[in-house]
Protein backbone atom coordinates (compact mmCIF):
# COMPACT_ATOMS: atom_id res chain seq x y z
CA UNK A 1 0.00 0.00 0.00
CA UNK A 2 1.32 3.46 -0.78
CA UNK A 3 3.15 5.29 1.96
CA UNK A 4 1.31 8.17 3.59
CA UNK A 5 1.62 11.68 2.29
CA UNK A 6 0.27 13.04 5.50
CA UNK A 7 -0.72 11.39 8.70
CA UNK A 8 -4.19 12.81 8.73
CA UNK A 9 -6.34 10.24 10.44
CA UNK A 10 -9.31 10.89 8.19
CA UNK A 11 -7.19 10.38 5.09
CA UNK A 12 -5.75 7.15 6.41
CA UNK A 13 -9.21 5.88 7.25
CA UNK A 14 -10.41 6.79 3.79
CA UNK A 15 -7.54 4.90 2.15
CA UNK A 16 -8.33 1.81 4.16
CA UNK A 17 -12.00 2.04 3.24
CA UNK A 18 -11.14 2.36 -0.46
CA UNK A 19 -8.92 -0.67 -0.18
CA UNK A 20 -11.69 -2.61 1.53
CA UNK A 21 -14.12 -1.59 -1.14
CA UNK A 22 -11.81 -2.82 -3.86
CA UNK A 23 -11.13 -6.08 -2.08
CA UNK A 24 -14.45 -7.82 -1.46
CA UNK A 25 -12.58 -10.81 -0.06
CA UNK A 26 -11.03 -8.65 2.61
CA UNK A 27 -14.39 -7.09 3.33
CA UNK A 28 -16.14 -10.41 3.79
CA UNK A 29 -13.29 -11.84 5.83
CA UNK A 30 -13.07 -8.76 7.98
CA UNK A 31 -16.84 -8.73 8.54
CA UNK A 32 -16.87 -12.36 9.58
CA UNK A 33 -13.99 -11.97 11.99
CA UNK A 34 -15.42 -8.79 13.41
CA UNK A 35 -18.79 -10.44 13.96
CA UNK A 36 -17.25 -13.30 15.86
CA UNK A 37 -14.97 -11.00 17.78
CA UNK A 38 -17.96 -8.97 18.90
CA UNK A 39 -19.72 -12.15 19.93
CA UNK A 40 -16.70 -13.20 21.87
CA UNK A 41 -16.36 -9.86 23.62
CA UNK A 42 -19.97 -9.39 24.53
CA UNK A 43 -20.81 -13.06 24.81
CA UNK A 44 -22.13 -13.22 28.35
CA UNK A 45 -24.36 -10.23 27.72
CA UNK A 46 -25.88 -11.75 24.60
CA UNK A 47 -26.73 -15.23 25.73
CA UNK A 48 -30.48 -15.44 25.95
CA UNK A 49 -30.28 -18.17 28.52
CA UNK A 50 -27.71 -19.39 31.02
CA UNK A 51 -25.36 -22.18 29.99
CA UNK A 52 -26.20 -24.19 33.04
CA UNK A 53 -29.86 -23.49 32.86
CA UNK A 54 -32.03 -26.39 31.94
CA UNK A 55 -34.90 -25.08 29.85
CA UNK A 56 -36.31 -28.12 28.19
CA UNK A 57 -35.93 -31.80 27.31
CA UNK A 58 -32.75 -33.56 26.23
CA UNK A 59 -31.98 -32.68 22.62
CA UNK A 60 -35.05 -30.59 22.29
CA UNK A 61 -35.71 -29.66 18.68
CA UNK A 62 -35.31 -26.07 17.44
CA UNK A 63 -38.26 -23.85 18.15
CA UNK A 64 -38.96 -20.12 17.99
CA UNK A 65 -37.80 -19.72 21.58
CA UNK A 66 -34.69 -21.82 21.00
CA UNK A 67 -33.65 -21.42 17.34
CA UNK A 68 -30.80 -23.89 17.72
CA UNK A 69 -32.55 -26.35 19.92
CA UNK A 70 -31.29 -27.82 23.17
CA UNK A 71 -28.31 -29.98 24.02
CA UNK A 72 -28.10 -33.23 25.92
CA UNK A 73 -28.71 -31.48 29.23
CA UNK A 74 -31.59 -29.41 27.98
CA UNK A 75 -29.48 -26.26 27.78
CA UNK A 76 -30.13 -23.73 25.02
CA UNK A 77 -27.71 -24.42 22.18
CA UNK A 78 -27.57 -20.85 20.97
CA UNK A 79 -26.39 -19.68 24.36
CA UNK A 80 -23.81 -22.44 24.46
CA UNK A 81 -22.62 -21.47 21.01
CA UNK A 82 -22.21 -17.83 21.95
CA UNK A 83 -20.43 -18.77 25.13
CA UNK A 84 -18.18 -21.10 23.22
CA UNK A 85 -17.23 -18.31 20.86
CA UNK A 86 -15.38 -16.60 23.62
CA UNK A 87 -12.95 -19.40 24.36
CA UNK A 88 -12.46 -20.44 20.77
CA UNK A 89 -11.72 -16.93 19.59
CA UNK A 90 -9.56 -16.18 22.60
CA UNK A 91 -7.45 -19.22 22.06
CA UNK A 92 -7.35 -18.58 18.33
CA UNK A 93 -6.14 -15.00 18.57
CA UNK A 94 -3.86 -15.50 21.52
CA UNK A 95 -2.16 -18.53 20.05
CA UNK A 96 -1.68 -16.83 16.71
CA UNK A 97 -0.24 -13.71 18.27
CA UNK A 98 2.18 -15.64 20.42
CA UNK A 99 3.25 -17.76 17.49
CA UNK A 100 3.83 -14.73 15.28
CA UNK A 101 5.77 -12.94 17.99
CA UNK A 102 8.02 -15.91 18.57
CA UNK A 103 8.31 -16.70 14.88
CA UNK A 104 8.93 -13.07 14.01
CA UNK A 105 11.66 -12.76 16.58
CA UNK A 106 13.36 -15.93 15.40
CA UNK A 107 13.00 -14.88 11.78
CA UNK A 108 14.43 -11.41 12.28
CA UNK A 109 17.33 -12.69 14.36
CA UNK A 110 18.18 -15.47 11.94
CA UNK A 111 17.83 -13.25 8.88
CA UNK A 112 19.68 -10.25 10.19
CA UNK A 113 22.48 -11.82 12.21
CA UNK A 114 23.16 -14.63 9.79
CA UNK A 115 26.09 -16.95 10.19
CA UNK A 116 25.95 -19.76 12.71
CA UNK A 117 23.07 -18.12 14.57
CA UNK A 118 21.01 -18.33 11.43
CA UNK A 119 21.99 -21.93 10.82
CA UNK A 120 21.23 -22.94 14.41
CA UNK A 121 17.86 -21.21 14.50
CA UNK A 122 16.86 -22.64 11.16
CA UNK A 123 17.83 -26.14 12.22
CA UNK A 124 15.60 -25.80 15.27
CA UNK A 125 12.83 -24.49 13.06
CA UNK A 126 13.24 -27.41 10.71
CA UNK A 127 12.95 -29.89 13.57
CA UNK A 128 9.69 -28.34 14.63
CA UNK A 129 8.36 -28.33 11.09
CA UNK A 130 9.16 -31.97 10.62
CA UNK A 131 7.29 -33.11 13.68
CA UNK A 132 3.62 -33.70 12.85
CA UNK A 133 1.70 -31.00 14.63
CA UNK A 134 -1.32 -32.73 15.97
CA UNK A 135 0.39 -35.78 17.46
CA UNK A 136 2.88 -33.52 19.20
CA UNK A 137 0.12 -31.35 20.53
CA UNK A 138 -1.67 -34.41 21.80
CA UNK A 139 1.41 -35.65 23.58
CA UNK A 140 2.08 -32.30 25.21
CA UNK A 141 -1.57 -31.81 26.11
CA UNK A 142 -1.67 -35.19 27.72
CA UNK A 143 1.37 -34.45 29.83
CA UNK A 144 0.27 -30.98 30.79
CA UNK A 145 -2.84 -30.34 32.76
CA UNK A 146 -5.55 -29.04 30.50
CA UNK A 147 -6.16 -25.31 30.71
CA UNK A 148 -6.76 -22.43 28.34
CA UNK A 149 -3.28 -21.02 28.84
CA UNK A 150 -1.71 -24.34 28.11
CA UNK A 151 -3.81 -24.67 25.01
CA UNK A 152 -2.60 -21.35 23.73
CA UNK A 153 1.01 -22.27 24.37
CA UNK A 154 0.72 -25.70 22.83
CA UNK A 155 -0.81 -24.39 19.64
CA UNK A 156 1.68 -21.54 19.43
CA UNK A 157 4.46 -24.05 19.93
CA UNK A 158 3.92 -25.41 16.48
CA UNK A 159 2.60 -22.44 14.58
CA UNK A 160 5.64 -20.23 14.92
CA UNK A 161 7.75 -22.08 12.39
CA UNK A 162 6.11 -20.92 9.18
CA UNK A 163 6.21 -17.34 10.41
CA UNK A 164 9.89 -17.69 11.22
CA UNK A 165 10.72 -18.83 7.73
CA UNK A 166 8.61 -16.20 6.06
CA UNK A 167 10.03 -13.35 8.11
CA UNK A 168 13.56 -14.57 7.71
CA UNK A 169 13.21 -14.59 3.93
CA UNK A 170 11.83 -11.07 3.98
CA UNK A 171 14.57 -9.82 6.29
CA UNK A 172 17.25 -11.33 4.09
CA UNK A 173 15.87 -9.40 1.15
CA UNK A 174 15.52 -6.17 3.12
CA UNK A 175 19.06 -6.41 4.42
CA UNK A 176 20.37 -5.96 0.90
CA UNK A 177 18.29 -2.90 0.19
CA UNK A 178 20.08 0.30 -0.57
CA UNK A 179 18.41 2.12 2.29
CA UNK A 180 19.84 -0.39 4.74
CA UNK A 181 23.30 -0.18 3.20
CA UNK A 182 23.02 3.54 3.46
CA UNK A 183 22.12 3.33 7.12
CA UNK A 184 25.18 1.20 7.74
CA UNK A 185 27.33 3.67 5.86
CA UNK A 186 26.06 6.47 8.05
CA UNK A 187 27.21 4.42 10.99
CA UNK A 188 23.89 3.35 12.42
CA UNK A 189 24.06 0.53 14.91
CA UNK A 190 22.31 -2.78 14.47
CA UNK A 191 19.47 -2.01 16.84
CA UNK A 192 18.63 1.13 14.95
CA UNK A 193 18.79 -0.55 11.58
CA UNK A 194 16.55 -3.38 12.69
CA UNK A 195 14.02 -1.25 14.47
CA UNK A 196 13.82 1.60 12.01
CA UNK A 197 14.66 0.14 8.66
CA UNK A 198 13.66 -3.47 8.75
CA UNK A 199 10.79 -3.97 11.16
CA UNK A 200 8.53 -1.27 9.63
CA UNK A 201 8.70 -3.10 6.35
CA UNK A 202 7.71 -6.46 7.78
CA UNK A 203 4.83 -5.20 9.90
CA UNK A 204 2.41 -5.78 7.04
CA UNK A 205 3.60 -9.32 6.69
CA UNK A 206 3.35 -9.87 10.43
CA UNK A 207 -0.24 -8.66 10.50
CA UNK A 208 -1.14 -10.85 7.55
CA UNK A 209 0.50 -13.86 9.12
CA UNK A 210 -1.27 -13.24 12.42
CA UNK A 211 -4.65 -13.16 10.74
CA UNK A 212 -3.89 -16.28 8.73
CA UNK A 213 -2.64 -18.05 11.81
CA UNK A 214 -5.98 -17.47 13.52
CA UNK A 215 -7.59 -19.92 11.16
CA UNK A 216 -5.09 -22.60 11.98
CA UNK A 217 -5.18 -21.89 15.69
CA UNK A 218 -8.96 -22.04 15.91
CA UNK A 219 -8.95 -25.26 14.01
CA UNK A 220 -6.33 -26.84 16.24
CA UNK A 221 -8.19 -25.70 19.34
CA UNK A 222 -11.27 -27.44 18.04
CA UNK A 223 -9.28 -30.55 17.28
CA UNK A 224 -7.71 -30.71 20.71
CA UNK A 225 -11.00 -30.07 22.46
CA UNK A 226 -12.69 -32.62 20.31
CA UNK A 227 -10.15 -35.17 21.41
CA UNK A 228 -10.96 -34.34 25.00
CA UNK A 229 -7.71 -32.56 25.71
CA UNK A 230 -9.21 -29.17 26.27
CA UNK A 231 -10.19 -27.58 29.54
CA UNK A 232 -13.28 -29.47 30.71
CA UNK A 233 -14.46 -26.52 32.73
CA UNK A 234 -14.77 -24.24 29.71
CA UNK A 235 -17.13 -24.27 26.78
CA UNK A 236 -15.65 -24.01 23.29
CA UNK A 237 -16.82 -25.02 19.87
CA UNK A 238 -14.59 -28.03 19.82
CA UNK A 239 -15.86 -29.09 23.21
CA UNK A 240 -19.44 -28.73 22.03
CA UNK A 241 -18.73 -31.05 19.14
CA UNK A 242 -16.95 -33.46 21.45
CA UNK A 243 -19.88 -33.55 23.86
CA UNK A 244 -22.30 -34.03 21.01
CA UNK A 245 -20.32 -36.98 19.72
CA UNK A 246 -19.97 -38.56 23.12
CA UNK A 247 -23.56 -38.10 24.05
CA UNK A 248 -24.96 -39.71 20.91
CA UNK A 249 -26.32 -36.58 19.30
CA UNK A 250 -26.01 -38.07 15.82
CA UNK A 251 -28.01 -41.20 16.49
CA UNK A 252 -30.58 -39.04 18.19
CA UNK A 253 -30.83 -36.98 15.05
CA UNK A 254 -29.91 -33.81 16.92
CA UNK A 255 -28.00 -32.13 14.10
CA UNK A 256 -28.34 -28.81 15.90
CA UNK A 257 -25.90 -30.00 18.50
CA UNK A 258 -23.07 -30.63 16.02
CA UNK A 259 -23.50 -28.55 12.91
CA UNK A 260 -23.68 -25.03 14.37
CA UNK A 261 -20.33 -25.21 16.19
CA UNK A 262 -18.75 -26.81 13.13
CA UNK A 263 -20.18 -24.08 10.98
CA UNK A 264 -18.77 -21.42 13.26
CA UNK A 265 -15.33 -22.93 13.03
CA UNK A 266 -15.60 -23.05 9.26
CA UNK A 267 -16.71 -19.44 9.08
CA UNK A 268 -13.86 -18.19 11.25
CA UNK A 269 -11.37 -20.17 9.23
CA UNK A 270 -12.87 -18.76 6.03
CA UNK A 271 -12.94 -15.23 7.34
CA UNK A 272 -9.36 -15.19 8.53
CA UNK A 273 -8.13 -16.86 5.35
CA UNK A 274 -9.83 -14.29 3.18
CA UNK A 275 -8.70 -11.31 5.19
CA UNK A 276 -5.22 -12.68 5.81
CA UNK A 277 -4.60 -13.43 2.15
CA UNK A 278 -5.82 -9.99 1.15
CA UNK A 279 -3.51 -8.31 3.66
CA UNK A 280 -0.66 -10.49 2.48
CA UNK A 281 -1.14 -9.33 -1.08
CA UNK A 282 -1.36 -5.73 0.01
CA UNK A 283 1.79 -6.05 2.08
CA UNK A 284 3.69 -7.43 -0.86
CA UNK A 285 5.14 -4.48 -2.67
CA UNK A 286 4.89 -4.67 -6.44
CA UNK A 287 3.26 -8.06 -6.47
CA UNK A 288 3.58 -8.13 -10.21
CA UNK A 289 1.55 -6.58 -12.95
CA UNK A 290 -0.34 -9.22 -14.82
CA UNK A 291 -0.37 -8.51 -18.50
CA UNK A 292 -1.77 -11.85 -19.38
CA UNK A 293 -5.45 -11.19 -19.56
CA UNK A 294 -8.27 -12.12 -21.83
CA UNK A 295 -9.25 -8.48 -22.02
CA UNK A 296 -7.40 -6.26 -24.48
CA UNK A 297 -6.95 -2.56 -24.88
CA UNK A 298 -9.82 -0.60 -26.36
CA UNK A 299 -10.09 1.42 -29.52
CA UNK A 300 -11.52 4.89 -29.39
CA UNK A 301 -12.84 6.90 -32.27
CA UNK A 302 -10.60 9.75 -33.34
CA UNK A 303 -11.25 12.68 -30.99
CA UNK A 304 -13.56 15.29 -32.44
CA UNK A 305 -11.66 18.21 -30.97
CA UNK A 306 -8.78 19.70 -32.93
CA UNK A 307 -5.54 17.80 -32.59
CA UNK A 308 -4.03 18.62 -29.26
Amino acid sequence: MPPPSSLNAAKVARRWLTWLRQNPAALIGGALLTAFAVLALFGPLLTPFGIDQRVGPVYGAPSPAHPLGLDDSGVDMLSLLIAGTRISMLVGFAASMVSVLVGGFVGVTAGYVGGWVDTALMRITDYFIVIPALPLMIVVATVWAPSVVHMVLIIALLLWTSTARLIRAQVLALKERVSVRRARAIGAGHARIVLRHIVPDIVGLLVATTVLAVSVAVFFEAALSFLGLGDPATVSWGRLIQIAFERTAISSGAWWAIIPPGLCIALVVLGSSLLGTAIQHAANPKAGIAHVSSRTFRIRPVPEASRD
Binding site: I289, S293, T296, F297, I299, R300, V302, D308
Partner: protein, 327 residues
Protein backbone atom coordinates in the same frame (compact mmCIF):
# COMPACT_ATOMS: atom_id res chain seq x y z
CA UNK B 1 17.42 4.92 -48.59
CA UNK B 2 14.07 4.73 -50.29
CA UNK B 3 11.31 7.11 -49.34
CA UNK B 4 8.80 5.43 -51.61
CA UNK B 5 6.35 3.73 -49.34
CA UNK B 6 6.85 3.49 -45.63
CA UNK B 7 6.84 0.05 -44.10
CA UNK B 8 5.43 1.45 -40.89
CA UNK B 9 3.24 4.48 -40.65
CA UNK B 10 1.30 5.88 -37.73
CA UNK B 11 -0.96 8.92 -37.69
CA UNK B 12 -2.48 10.88 -34.86
CA UNK B 13 -1.85 8.22 -32.24
CA UNK B 14 -3.51 8.89 -28.91
CA UNK B 15 -3.31 6.56 -25.93
CA UNK B 16 -5.06 6.89 -22.58
CA UNK B 17 -4.49 4.81 -19.46
CA UNK B 18 -7.21 4.33 -16.85
CA UNK B 19 -6.06 5.37 -13.42
CA UNK B 20 -7.08 3.43 -10.28
CA UNK B 21 -8.99 6.32 -8.76
CA UNK B 22 -11.05 7.03 -11.82
CA UNK B 23 -9.14 9.51 -13.95
CA UNK B 24 -7.16 9.00 -17.15
CA UNK B 25 -3.55 9.48 -18.12
CA UNK B 26 -3.20 10.86 -21.61
CA UNK B 27 0.13 9.26 -22.41
CA UNK B 28 0.33 9.82 -26.18
CA UNK B 29 -1.18 12.96 -27.55
CA UNK B 30 -1.33 12.86 -31.32
CA UNK B 31 1.90 11.24 -32.52
CA UNK B 32 2.85 10.64 -36.15
CA UNK B 33 5.57 8.35 -37.35
CA UNK B 34 6.91 7.01 -40.62
CA UNK B 35 9.73 4.58 -41.35
CA UNK B 36 10.82 3.03 -44.62
CA UNK B 37 13.05 0.15 -45.62
CA UNK B 38 16.69 0.42 -44.46
CA UNK B 39 15.78 3.52 -42.54
CA UNK B 40 16.70 4.07 -38.90
CA UNK B 41 14.38 6.29 -36.93
CA UNK B 42 15.42 7.32 -33.45
CA UNK B 43 12.79 8.30 -30.89
CA UNK B 44 14.42 10.10 -28.02
CA UNK B 45 13.11 11.60 -24.81
CA UNK B 46 13.28 11.46 -21.06
CA UNK B 47 11.25 9.33 -18.69
CA UNK B 48 7.53 9.85 -18.98
CA UNK B 49 7.61 11.34 -22.46
CA UNK B 50 5.67 8.44 -23.92
CA UNK B 51 8.35 6.84 -26.09
CA UNK B 52 7.95 3.37 -24.64
CA UNK B 53 4.17 3.69 -24.78
CA UNK B 54 4.58 4.54 -28.45
CA UNK B 55 6.48 1.33 -29.11
CA UNK B 56 3.96 -0.73 -27.20
CA UNK B 57 1.16 0.85 -29.20
CA UNK B 58 2.89 0.06 -32.47
CA UNK B 59 3.04 -3.56 -31.42
CA UNK B 60 -0.47 -3.55 -29.98
CA UNK B 61 0.92 -4.56 -26.60
CA UNK B 62 -1.12 -2.21 -24.47
CA UNK B 63 -2.68 -3.43 -21.22
CA UNK B 64 -6.46 -3.70 -20.76
CA UNK B 65 -6.47 -0.42 -18.90
CA UNK B 66 -5.47 1.39 -22.09
CA UNK B 67 -7.49 2.83 -24.90
CA UNK B 68 -6.06 4.06 -28.18
CA UNK B 69 -7.13 5.99 -31.22
CA UNK B 70 -5.51 6.89 -34.51
CA UNK B 71 -4.10 4.82 -37.30
CA UNK B 72 -1.22 2.39 -37.61
CA UNK B 73 -0.40 0.94 -41.01
CA UNK B 74 2.08 -1.87 -41.50
CA UNK B 75 3.03 -2.18 -45.16
CA UNK B 76 -0.08 -0.24 -45.98
CA UNK B 77 -2.43 -2.41 -43.90
CA UNK B 78 -4.34 -0.71 -41.15
CA UNK B 79 -3.98 -2.55 -37.84
CA UNK B 80 -5.03 -0.31 -35.00
CA UNK B 81 -8.71 -0.16 -35.77
CA UNK B 82 -8.74 -3.92 -36.07
CA UNK B 83 -7.64 -4.23 -32.46
CA UNK B 84 -5.90 -7.23 -31.01
CA UNK B 85 -7.08 -9.52 -33.77
CA UNK B 86 -5.49 -7.41 -36.50
CA UNK B 87 -2.28 -7.01 -34.54
CA UNK B 88 -1.94 -10.69 -34.01
CA UNK B 89 -1.82 -11.29 -37.73
CA UNK B 90 1.13 -9.00 -38.10
CA UNK B 91 2.87 -9.36 -34.78
CA UNK B 92 6.30 -10.89 -35.11
CA UNK B 93 5.81 -11.76 -38.77
CA UNK B 94 5.80 -8.20 -40.01
CA UNK B 95 6.83 -6.24 -36.94
CA UNK B 96 8.90 -7.38 -33.98
CA UNK B 97 10.42 -5.79 -30.90
CA UNK B 98 13.55 -6.09 -28.79
CA UNK B 99 13.09 -4.81 -25.26
CA UNK B 100 15.47 -3.28 -22.80
CA UNK B 101 15.33 -6.08 -20.31
CA UNK B 102 14.80 -8.67 -23.01
CA UNK B 103 17.84 -10.52 -21.85
CA UNK B 104 16.19 -11.05 -18.53
CA UNK B 105 13.02 -12.26 -20.11
CA UNK B 106 14.53 -15.38 -21.60
CA UNK B 107 13.28 -18.61 -20.13
CA UNK B 108 15.82 -19.78 -17.58
CA UNK B 109 14.99 -23.48 -17.81
CA UNK B 110 14.87 -23.83 -21.55
CA UNK B 111 17.86 -24.12 -23.80
CA UNK B 112 18.39 -21.20 -26.14
CA UNK B 113 17.90 -23.33 -29.22
CA UNK B 114 14.58 -24.59 -27.95
CA UNK B 115 13.39 -21.08 -27.22
CA UNK B 116 14.11 -19.99 -30.76
CA UNK B 117 12.53 -23.03 -32.37
CA UNK B 118 9.52 -22.47 -30.15
CA UNK B 119 9.07 -19.01 -31.67
CA UNK B 120 9.31 -20.51 -35.13
CA UNK B 121 6.77 -23.19 -34.36
CA UNK B 122 4.34 -20.79 -32.71
CA UNK B 123 4.22 -18.66 -35.81
CA UNK B 124 4.10 -21.60 -38.23
CA UNK B 125 7.37 -20.64 -39.82
CA UNK B 126 9.09 -23.99 -39.46
CA UNK B 127 9.07 -27.12 -37.36
CA UNK B 128 11.47 -29.91 -36.50
CA UNK B 129 14.82 -30.02 -38.32
CA UNK B 130 13.86 -27.09 -40.51
CA UNK B 131 13.30 -25.02 -37.38
CA UNK B 132 16.60 -26.10 -35.95
CA UNK B 133 18.39 -25.16 -39.12
CA UNK B 134 16.74 -21.77 -39.11
CA UNK B 135 17.65 -21.28 -35.48
CA UNK B 136 21.26 -21.95 -36.39
CA UNK B 137 21.05 -19.41 -39.19
CA UNK B 138 19.56 -16.85 -36.87
CA UNK B 139 22.26 -17.07 -34.23
CA UNK B 140 24.90 -16.86 -36.92
CA UNK B 141 23.13 -13.82 -38.27
CA UNK B 142 23.53 -12.00 -34.98
CA UNK B 143 27.14 -13.02 -34.68
CA UNK B 144 26.91 -15.79 -32.12
CA UNK B 145 28.55 -19.22 -32.36
CA UNK B 146 26.44 -22.33 -33.00
CA UNK B 147 27.01 -23.86 -29.60
CA UNK B 148 24.96 -21.11 -28.01
CA UNK B 149 21.91 -23.13 -29.00
CA UNK B 150 22.70 -25.77 -26.43
CA UNK B 151 23.26 -23.31 -23.61
CA UNK B 152 21.00 -21.94 -20.96
CA UNK B 153 20.24 -18.33 -20.26
CA UNK B 154 22.42 -18.06 -17.18
CA UNK B 155 25.50 -19.18 -19.05
CA UNK B 156 25.32 -16.20 -21.33
CA UNK B 157 26.55 -12.67 -20.77
CA UNK B 158 24.29 -9.65 -21.14
CA UNK B 159 25.46 -8.89 -24.63
CA UNK B 160 24.94 -12.44 -25.79
CA UNK B 161 21.47 -12.55 -24.33
CA UNK B 162 20.51 -9.38 -26.08
CA UNK B 163 21.72 -10.84 -29.35
CA UNK B 164 19.58 -13.90 -28.69
CA UNK B 165 16.61 -11.59 -28.16
CA UNK B 166 17.47 -10.01 -31.45
CA UNK B 167 17.62 -13.38 -33.14
CA UNK B 168 14.21 -14.28 -31.75
CA UNK B 169 12.80 -10.99 -32.95
CA UNK B 170 14.06 -11.65 -36.46
CA UNK B 171 12.88 -15.26 -36.49
CA UNK B 172 9.84 -14.66 -38.67
CA UNK B 173 11.61 -12.26 -41.01
CA UNK B 174 9.75 -9.09 -40.07
CA UNK B 175 10.20 -5.97 -42.09
CA UNK B 176 9.97 -3.64 -39.14
CA UNK B 177 12.12 -3.92 -36.05
CA UNK B 178 11.37 -1.92 -32.94
CA UNK B 179 13.96 -1.61 -30.21
CA UNK B 180 13.18 -0.17 -26.77
CA UNK B 181 16.41 0.91 -25.09
CA UNK B 182 18.16 -2.16 -26.46
CA UNK B 183 21.54 -1.29 -25.04
CA UNK B 184 20.78 0.72 -21.94
CA UNK B 185 21.37 -2.13 -19.56
CA UNK B 186 24.62 -3.17 -21.22
CA UNK B 187 28.16 -1.98 -20.72
CA UNK B 188 29.20 0.66 -23.24
CA UNK B 189 31.53 -1.63 -25.15
CA UNK B 190 29.07 -4.46 -25.39
CA UNK B 191 26.40 -1.92 -26.29
CA UNK B 192 28.54 -0.71 -29.17
CA UNK B 193 28.91 -4.28 -30.40
CA UNK B 194 25.18 -4.93 -30.23
CA UNK B 195 24.40 -1.67 -31.99
CA UNK B 196 26.85 -2.66 -34.67
CA UNK B 197 24.91 -5.86 -35.17
CA UNK B 198 21.59 -4.00 -35.34
CA UNK B 199 23.07 -1.57 -37.83
CA UNK B 200 24.43 -4.32 -40.04
CA UNK B 201 21.17 -6.24 -39.96
CA UNK B 202 19.16 -3.18 -40.89
CA UNK B 203 21.18 -3.01 -44.07
CA UNK B 204 21.41 -6.72 -44.80
CA UNK B 205 17.74 -7.46 -44.22
CA UNK B 206 16.30 -4.16 -45.52
CA UNK B 207 14.66 -3.57 -42.17
CA UNK B 208 12.88 -0.46 -41.01
CA UNK B 209 14.27 0.27 -37.57
CA UNK B 210 12.65 2.31 -34.82
CA UNK B 211 15.05 2.82 -31.95
CA UNK B 212 13.73 4.26 -28.69
CA UNK B 213 16.22 5.57 -26.17
CA UNK B 214 16.99 8.38 -23.78
CA UNK B 215 20.58 8.48 -25.05
CA UNK B 216 20.88 11.44 -27.42
CA UNK B 217 24.44 10.90 -28.70
CA UNK B 218 23.50 7.35 -29.54
CA UNK B 219 20.75 8.39 -31.92
CA UNK B 220 22.79 11.15 -33.51
CA UNK B 221 25.42 8.61 -34.39
CA UNK B 222 23.19 5.72 -35.32
CA UNK B 223 19.99 7.05 -36.84
CA UNK B 224 18.99 8.67 -40.11
CA UNK B 225 16.15 10.61 -38.54
CA UNK B 226 15.33 11.66 -35.02
CA UNK B 227 12.05 12.46 -33.30
CA UNK B 228 12.26 14.18 -29.95
CA UNK B 229 9.34 13.52 -27.62
CA UNK B 230 8.08 15.49 -24.67
CA UNK B 231 4.93 14.97 -22.60
CA UNK B 232 3.37 12.58 -25.06
CA UNK B 233 4.01 14.56 -28.20
CA UNK B 234 6.69 14.83 -30.85
CA UNK B 235 8.30 18.24 -30.42
CA UNK B 236 10.91 18.03 -33.15
CA UNK B 237 11.71 15.79 -36.07
CA UNK B 238 14.55 15.88 -38.58
CA UNK B 239 17.95 14.51 -39.45
CA UNK B 240 20.60 14.43 -36.70
CA UNK B 241 22.28 17.43 -38.25
CA UNK B 242 18.97 19.32 -38.37
CA UNK B 243 18.16 18.49 -34.78
CA UNK B 244 21.61 19.29 -33.42
CA UNK B 245 22.85 22.18 -35.53
CA UNK B 246 19.60 23.78 -36.56
CA UNK B 247 17.20 22.90 -33.78
CA UNK B 248 14.08 25.01 -33.64
CA UNK B 249 12.71 23.77 -30.36
CA UNK B 250 13.98 25.00 -27.00
CA UNK B 251 13.60 21.59 -25.37
CA UNK B 252 15.80 19.91 -27.94
CA UNK B 253 18.41 22.60 -27.58
CA UNK B 254 18.37 22.36 -23.81
CA UNK B 255 18.48 18.60 -23.90
CA UNK B 256 21.61 18.67 -26.02
CA UNK B 257 23.09 21.30 -23.77
CA UNK B 258 22.42 19.06 -20.79
CA UNK B 259 24.07 16.04 -22.36
CA UNK B 260 27.63 15.27 -21.43
CA UNK B 261 30.04 14.70 -24.27
CA UNK B 262 33.52 13.42 -23.83
CA UNK B 263 34.60 14.72 -27.20
CA UNK B 264 33.50 18.30 -26.85
CA UNK B 265 35.63 19.54 -24.02
CA UNK B 266 34.63 20.85 -20.68
CA UNK B 267 31.77 23.12 -21.59
CA UNK B 268 29.26 23.92 -18.89
CA UNK B 269 26.44 21.45 -18.82
CA UNK B 270 22.95 22.79 -18.41
CA UNK B 271 20.15 21.33 -16.39
CA UNK B 272 16.49 21.95 -17.06
CA UNK B 273 14.68 23.02 -13.92
CA UNK B 274 11.27 21.62 -13.12
CA UNK B 275 9.54 18.47 -14.28
CA UNK B 276 7.33 17.45 -17.19
CA UNK B 277 3.63 18.17 -16.71
CA UNK B 278 1.27 15.63 -15.18
CA UNK B 279 -0.54 13.88 -17.96
CA UNK B 280 -3.54 12.96 -15.85
CA UNK B 281 -4.74 16.51 -16.20
CA UNK B 282 -5.47 18.25 -19.48
CA UNK B 283 -2.62 20.40 -20.75
CA UNK B 284 -3.58 23.79 -22.10
CA UNK B 285 -1.10 25.53 -24.29
CA UNK B 286 2.44 24.31 -24.73
CA UNK B 287 3.43 21.50 -22.40
CA UNK B 288 6.99 22.80 -22.13
CA UNK B 289 5.92 26.29 -21.12
CA UNK B 290 6.81 26.20 -17.39
CA UNK B 291 10.39 25.25 -18.17
CA UNK B 292 10.93 27.15 -21.38
CA UNK B 293 13.37 30.07 -21.56
CA UNK B 294 11.52 31.47 -24.56
CA UNK B 295 8.06 31.37 -23.04
CA UNK B 296 5.66 34.11 -24.04
CA UNK B 297 2.05 34.78 -23.23
CA UNK B 298 0.90 33.34 -26.53
CA UNK B 299 2.34 29.97 -25.53
CA UNK B 300 -0.23 29.62 -22.76
CA UNK B 301 -3.30 29.58 -24.91
CA UNK B 302 -2.57 27.37 -27.88
CA UNK B 303 -0.68 24.11 -28.06
CA UNK B 304 1.82 24.42 -30.91
CA UNK B 305 1.55 22.14 -33.91
CA UNK B 306 4.55 20.71 -35.72
CA UNK B 307 5.66 23.51 -38.01
CA UNK B 308 7.70 22.70 -41.06
CA UNK B 309 11.01 24.56 -40.90
CA UNK B 310 12.78 23.00 -43.83
CA UNK B 311 12.38 19.88 -45.93
CA UNK B 312 12.12 16.98 -43.52
CA UNK B 313 12.61 19.19 -40.48
CA UNK B 314 9.72 20.26 -38.25
CA UNK B 315 9.39 21.59 -34.71
CA UNK B 316 6.37 22.06 -32.45
CA UNK B 317 7.10 25.57 -31.27
CA UNK B 318 5.29 28.68 -32.38
CA UNK B 319 8.61 30.38 -32.82
CA UNK B 320 10.04 27.67 -35.04
CA UNK B 321 11.76 29.21 -38.02
CA UNK B 322 11.79 32.68 -36.54
CA UNK B 323 14.70 34.38 -34.92
CA UNK B 324 13.59 34.71 -31.32
CA UNK B 325 15.89 35.42 -28.43
CA UNK B 326 16.14 32.86 -25.65
CA UNK B 327 15.81 34.81 -22.42
Amino acid sequence: MTESSPLLEASDLNVWFDLPDGGELHALRGVDLRVGSREKLGIVGESGCGKSTLLMTLMGLLPPSASASGSIRISGQEVLTGGERAFRIHRWKDIAVVFQGAMNALNPVMRIGRQITEVLELHDVATGPAAEARARDLVTLVGLPDDILRRYNHELSGGMRQRVSLAMALACEPQVLLADEPTTALDVMVAAQVLGVIDRLTRELDLALVLVTHDLPLVTRTCDRIQVMYAGKVVETGTPADVYHRSEHPYTRLLFAATADVHSGREELVSIAGSPPRLDEPVTGCAFLPRCPMAREECMTEAPQLLQVASGHAAACRFAGQKVRMS
